[in-house]
Amino acid sequence: MSTISVIEGSMAVAQAVKACRPGVIAAYPISPQTHIVEFLSQFVADNEMDTKYVRVDAEFSAASAVYGSSATGVRSYTASSSQGLLLMSEVLYAMAGTRLPVVLTGVNRTVSAPITIQPDHQDTMALRDTGLIQLHVENSQEAYATHIQAFKLAEDHDILLPVMVCMDGWILTHSFEPVKLEDQEKVDEFLPPFVPKYRLDTKNPLTYGAYADDEVPEFRLMMHFAQERAKEKIEKIAREYEAKFGDYFGGLIDTYRCDDAEIVMVAMGSVIGTLKDAVDKLRKENIKVGVLKVRSYRPFPGEEILSAVKGAKMVAVLDKSLSVGQGGPLATDVKAALANKQAPPVLGCIAGMGGRDMSMVLIREIIEKSQKAITTGKIPDIEYIALKRQYLE
């Protein structure tokens, strides 16, 4: 029987990882990822997991250790945040290029400077082009489910790419919510042991990480093709999870009251819950709004987004990060997905960076700006929500 416990989001992740039976975990502490790796260390210390926990000297080494263990054919896991993810970045490019199916949690936190431990999406956005599959989650239950799905996805021989489950630091990792934990037996049925396609093995000596004279474009493209295949797999695995455990949080995307919506708000992560509440309130005022959750940021679900928003009058995209010199990365991707198509215009809004709270007041501001853009036909390049002008002086 599954059990429902009121636990921290970090514990939900640790329980999911434990249920997936990784052979090797390597991690280095950074706020707000710490509780996840502390819980896992304790599970290993208490013999609740048959796992080798490699305590390392830096995030760079954490990523490198799971690189080595995954290449040796063992299910491997790591987690980090912010500066730690950036320190891993060189390894993550190589890991994806070497097609190693490591699962990692990207606990979203902003990047220095200025230094702060507040959450936003700046860190995982910096890893956008690594080749990692990136799945964003909305709440602890989805974090639990998505980690279990992530191993199945990463290790699929049609995919073989690292999968990063992105979750907002503090908001999710340190909040207590009721979480349904599944039976180990059922998780084992859903996620069988890892069968590596290749591995370091003295009985069959292979070379990993060869020098390429001429093969680079094809290798990079093959990663892209694997991500294209992952689009179908992400949805398929989410449906298999639903069939097994009864929970579905979306495949590549999820939509809420989008069918007749005039304004569709597009976002990722923990803000989705707030947006759904806001939609319910605004609907009572006869404002036709809906929410589109981007669950898979890479691969990017352009076609699914187009099909969900094509009847709307405005698409308002909320970005919790800023590509300096360009704008919100999510908005940029949505615009690219809708370009040259019969599609509504896109209003890019920067909101919630550095942990700034997304309240009902701010969501109302976004809706008002969207309505104004619809009536005037003038769409600003970027809207900055809840900007505190005094800091700009």
Binding site: A26, D50, R55, Y67, A71, T207, G209, A210, A212, D213
Partner: protein, 292 residues
């Protein structure tokens, strides 16, 4: 000495330069290690010349990921083997740049974790793969492309970093230096690592014809001179046992070594005599300190 493997585990046809010291070291190391070995390498000469895609020279499983993480990758390989209850040897083979400089933190972490991993540094005393730039393994007075000799420069102004001492400070189980000029000694030391559980460090002096500037037929001769002058001491420290040092009966003046290589030749000019004398002093100090 009985060697586990007589066959050559580094296939012919790799892309090393003629007379490459590192290639000689690789053959000897793999011969001593045998087939039941997984090798992890950093980016560098060995990685480049052994691993062109589809034409790998490695007859043992081999992994390269980046420049500065071979020790950490090895830690993960070792943890995975422990999980699988398999017992193959895990051996890092990386150059001095990847060891002394950019990968030192990762290596320190691996030593501290006390995993059963052998770290072998092939030390050609500069960044040869990228065009002979100075590293912290580059010896005093040596001219490289980033420590060039010139009107106001005698080459590298700092002495070589003492990496074996740093390894020893981690209380690792075995530390040794070796040279490709003494293959039996090198292979004996590498074979010994298979008998000792824990982190181990071996530093192999591997002359580089291009970077040091000598004829490609003279690699072993240069390697020997480095030892015979006392500039490169050959020793081993097994935990709990006294240090064993390779003695040299007829020590040669360091000038013979310097004269052999273009990287030091500027020191033979009269105005650089002081620097040459200081290198002789380094040799004399080594001879005294190690009892060479």
């Amino acid at each position: 000495m009985v060697l586990a493997e007589r066959e050559n585990l580094l296939a012919a046809g790799h892309r090393a330069c003629p007379g490459c010291g590192a290639a000689i070291a690789l053959r000897q190391i793999l011969r001593a290690l045998g087939r039941d070995t997984i090798v992890v390498s950093a980016t560098g000469c060995v990685e480049t010349f052994t691993s062109p895609y589809g034409m790998s020279a490695w007859e043992v499983p081999w992994i390269h990921s980046l420049f500065e993480n071979s020790a950490s990758v090895a830690s993960g390989v070792h943890a995975a083997l422990e999980f699988l209850r398999e017992k193959s040897s895990v051996v890092v083979i990386s150059g001095d740049g990847g060891t002394f400089d950019i990968g030192m933190g990762a290596m320190s972490g691996m030593f501290e974790r006390k995993q059963n991993i052998t770290y072998i540094c092939y030390d050609n005393e500069a960044y040869m793969n990228t065009g002979v730039q100075g590293s912290s393994a580059t010896p005093y007075g040596s001219s490289t492309t980033t420590t060039p000799a010139g009107k106001a420069s005698f080459g590298k102004i700092q002495p070589k970093k003492d990496m074996p001492a740093i390894a020893l400070a981690h209380d690792v189980d075995y530390v040794a230096t070796a040279s490709i000029a003494y293959p039996q000694d090198l292979m004996k030391k590498v074979a010994k690592t298979k008998e000792i559980y824990g982190p181990k460090y071996i530093q192999v002096h591997t002359p580089c014809t291009i970077g040091w500037g000598f004829d490609s037929s003279k690699t072993v001769e240069v390697g020997k001179l480095a030892v015979e002058t006392g500039l490169v001491p050959i020793y081993e420290v097994e935990k709990g046992k006294p240090m064993v040092v390779k003695k040299v009966k007829n020590k040669k003046p360091v000038e013979e070594y310097l004269r052999f290589q273009t990287r030091f030749r500027h020191l033979l000019k009269e105005e650089q005599k002081d620097i040459a004398n200081q290198i002789q002093a380094i040799c004399d100090k080594n001879i005294e300190r190690f009892g060479i």
